[in-house]
Symmetry: C2
Subunit: 328 residues, 2 copies
DNA sequence: TTGTATGCGTTATCAT
DNA sequence: ATGATAACGCATACAA
């Protein structure tokens, strides 16, 4: 790959002059400019970012550290981050931690070695102060995405609020008992429970939490629940994937949806509209989150002295569809 | 971020000595070695890859250029590529072309600027000689993944063969008419048609090709087909997403699956097992493909003189499930 | 075994 | 307007 110095020799000027031409710096003799540019084009010269970074200090590299790129939701985020970053001339160096804190730590070392200008991270664990201390110690602008992280810039949707709304919706649709499919530590659950508790302090008497991902086990727990509570059951699954699993089980069991059981998922993936019945779900503003995260990061990069921490919650929207709509 | 020279000063040795210690090169006084290592650890020294690259010529960066990272199949590939590359100390710089050749060309420029050691690419277009010429001209080791590319190293599954097998399977399940949901230029279709033609040269008389992605339009075409052909219909969709859409439409229409219509998708995504009925699909060896692609690339990087082109077709496997299994 | 000197491809600061 | 020159952080050949 041809270098500036070589271009300089070929055009009979000095290397810094080539640099000036290429950077549009200062006034350069138009004749020379043309000569250099045509030579550059002819040889397909491309600047060496490594050298530029060494000399200038910016790498235009953004480290993106994710828990699971194969998760459609994160993959979608990456798409938008890449797009937005590209607009500002930044590129992504991508890491997958697979939810492993050890792996995450290694990633943090590697991004330091590459002298990335900034970092967008989905933390491997929900809440660990050790991690935060580490990420602070490396002195690279960081934005946490999809999770709230106290004391760090972060962009996320309010899952608690979303859960609350799902509870509200299911109640409005005439549900008399409830199932939450997922972990109780989930903010979605907190909001969901908060609403139901407001409605009836002892709602737990009409509630089942299912955690297992095993279809057979789910079927059993579901059967128990349905036997116990004859009225319409409202089911909230922590993501669409699980909602789909649940829907399949309900259909296999011959349970009428939404008549006997109303179902709501989370993520609003494309499948929602294709399923029969179509699946109600909570939609997160993926593109807006990605764009906001990058913009926050860019700000931090360009104004490192601004130590103000931005906590940016975004609104998730419940999209009601056939799987939970009784009246329409 | 602390540098080698600074470490050298702090420990009272020369910078090259620090370099030797860090690279395990040659014999170094054990005393000094310890002194340097502890200083390195104390200050959290991390080598500057930009400088290393400039001095040594390798960036340990692999450019990954994809058409659509938000596609679950590609996202999955990226996950495995990242994993495998990481094992050999390589990192990914990720690009999304969005199927736009112009965008792709820009990506090719950028990876050159970053002096990536190699490239793994999903071409934006199926077959364009212009693109191949371009990618050859940049003199970076390249492996094309998921697509056959004549004259370039490539790793892919034989879609034609897979299509052939799907046809065979559907026929075995007693189908008497067929629908292909997708583009006829697709190799899957070629194989599918090849089998059916072998069975009955005028199979086209009992065949419908549906291209539109609009649900209403699909429903109409489906209705026409079913009216015309009373026997069991075999439906082959070009991916699971479309198969799901089709399944929803069939269910909405009250068509019995697989009794009246047997359905097969492509990609074997997680949803196959959750749907009701479970969805038959063609499974590609994602991890094996990713690993093979990276290994091929690594070989090219380490043995640039080896100009042998590897064309590496892998076998896709049909996973029959309820949506197409009549006898079991 | 260790230090000196040089070069990688840029940018930037000087002179000229 | 342009050309020397130094500097970025490291690896490496060479000298000591």
């Amino acid at each position: 790959m041809i270098t500036m110095t070589e271009i300089a020799k070929l055009t009979g000027v000095s290397q810094p002059t080539v640099s000036r031409v290429l950077n549009g710096n200062q006034a350069v003799n138009p004749e020379i400019r043309e000569r250099v540019l045509s030579c550059v084009k002819e040889h397909g010269y491309q600047p060496n970012v490594m050298a530029q970074s060494l000399a200038g200090s910016k790498t235009h590299l953004i480290g993106v550290i994710l828990t699971d790129i194969s998760n459609a939701f994160f993959a979608d985020l990456v798409k938008y981050i890449e797009q937005e970053a590209g607009r500002s001339g930044y590129r992504l160096i991508l890491f997958n931690t697979n939810y492993d804190p050890e792996q995450e730590q290694k990633c943090l070392e590697v991004v330091q070695r590459y002298r990335v200008d900034g970092l967008i991270v989905v933390p491997a664990q929900e809440e660990t102060s050790g991690w935060k201390a580490l990420i602070r110690s490396i002195h690279i602008p960081v934005v946490v995405i999809t999770r709230y992280a106290k004391g760090l810039d972060c962009v996320y949707t309010d899952h608690r609020e979303a859960g609350f709304r799902v509870g509200c919706h299911l109640q409005e649709q005439g549900c008399e008992s409830y199932i939450f499919f997922g972990n109780k530590a989930d903010k979605k659950y907190e909001g969901f429970a908060e609403f139901l508790e407001g409605l009836d302090p002892v709602f737990r008497n009409r509630f089942t939490n299912i955690i297992t991902k095993d279809s057979t086990a789910i079927e059993k727990e579901l059967e128990t629940h349905l036997k116990k509570y004859p009225g319409r059951t409202g089911i909230f699954a922590y993501n669409d994937r699980r909602a789909l699993q649940f829907l399949g089980i309900l259909q296999k069991m011959g349970v009428e949806v939404p008549g006997r059981a109303a179902l709501v998922g989370f993520d609003n993936t494309y499948m929602c509209e294709y399923l029969y019945p179509t699946l109600s779900s909570v939609s997160q503003p993926n593109e807006a989150m990605a764009v906001k995260a990058f913009k926050l990061l860019l700000h931090k990069i360009e104004q490192p002295e601004d130590s103000h921490v931005e906590d940016w919650p975004m609104e998730a929207e419940l999209i009601p569809r056939e799987s939970s709509l009784i009246y329409r």
